[in-house]
Symmetry: C2
Subunit: 200 residues, 2 copies
């Protein structure tokens, strides 16, 4: 801002102006849960349903984060925290653009999720716990990671050789081994629409 | 994607679908130029003019990047490259969401701008050279940095103690010491609108 030499364009558009332009409120929807619990699947469904309702959203997940900006991070304790810190900072940029942002990351500890919440801001942080039990996630084992973890080939694998701390007070809990996908998606969509269109 | 267990929601919305939803094409507009050249001022004007035309855009600049995701970077050669790499990766996420993304960074070398171009993709990278001469930038000295650099208090300051390599083939060049602000803004807006609404 200090570079501004003309008073006529002295300020970046505010979040409120942008939200007005888009006709929606931005927010972060943070999916946490074991690998294979269904975080991405539910988020993909939510994205499609929101598009039908004219709501702009953006999914951040391992595919577009670990392969891109976080490609220079490993899986040490320090790198895992930095991974989440960067995701939260990027998420914040999207939220402040007025976009409904869906983050799908195991994010297994209270400490890690608290870091994300602190960066993004409590009022914009909506935690969705995909609580599908370990047995079901391991049965699905879509990426073959559980088998590898059981064979000791993957270190510190959440649920097998590293703990998952269930969120204490999530906005929504979804067990995809019990709830049909459409119902899981609907619950998240209902929560989002209640916030996204508030006062619009 | 490997986590998807239901075929019904098997893919993230494509960039094309998102652009269809927004009614615009995403792109990166990369402002390069000396400190004080007017990069942010022009970008702020562009943002306002685009908003009037219903085009969603997002400015990335020192204020929201260095203070956020890149707060753990210094000004070593390595950190300057990492700074730009992360900005480019974040920019790519915005561009692929269909958003007109304006990046305002000195980005003084061909190497640094080439890094950004490579990450974002040549077809989405539009370089705007804010070519205001050093004398005028130093005369403005909005942040007082030139004075400090002259006193030797700021190391490797572009234009004083570190080189600025002019882009060889920018999409647009703007000298804000000659062109009125409105005209500078209009030139960038015209370029963007020609791309943003192509085929819409």
């Amino acid at each position: 801002m200090a570079e501004n030499i003309y008073p006529i364009y002295d300020k970046m558009m505010s979040r409120e102006e942008r939200e007005q332009q888009l006709g929606q409120h931005g927010m972060m929807v943070w999916f946490t849960g074991l690998s294979g619990s269904g975080k991405s699947t539910v988020a993909l469904g939510v994205e499609r349903e929101l598009a039908k309702r004219g709501v702009l959203c953006r999914i951040l997940d391992g595919d577009n984060i670990r392969a891109g900006i976080n490609s220079n991070l490993g899986f040490s304790e320090e790198d895992r925290m930095e991974n989440i810190r960067r995701i939260a900072e990027i998420g914040k940029l999207f939220v402040q653009t007025g976009i409904v942002t869906l983050a799908c990351f195991v994010s297994p500890t209270e400490e890690i999720r608290q870091l994300a919440r602190t960066i993004i801001g409590d009022e914009d942080f909506n935690e969705v716990f995909v609580s599908t039990p370990l047995e079901e996630c391991e049965r699905r084992d879509v990426k073959g990671l559980y088998a590898r973890a059981r064979r000791g080939e993957v270190k510190d694998f959440t649920g097998i050789s590293a703990p998952f701390e269930a969120p204490k007070n999530p906005a929504i809990s979804i067990d995809t081994s019990v709830l049909p996908l459409e119902e899981s998606v609907n619950r998240v969509v209902d929560m989002i629409m209640a916030i996204a269109k508030k006062g619009k």
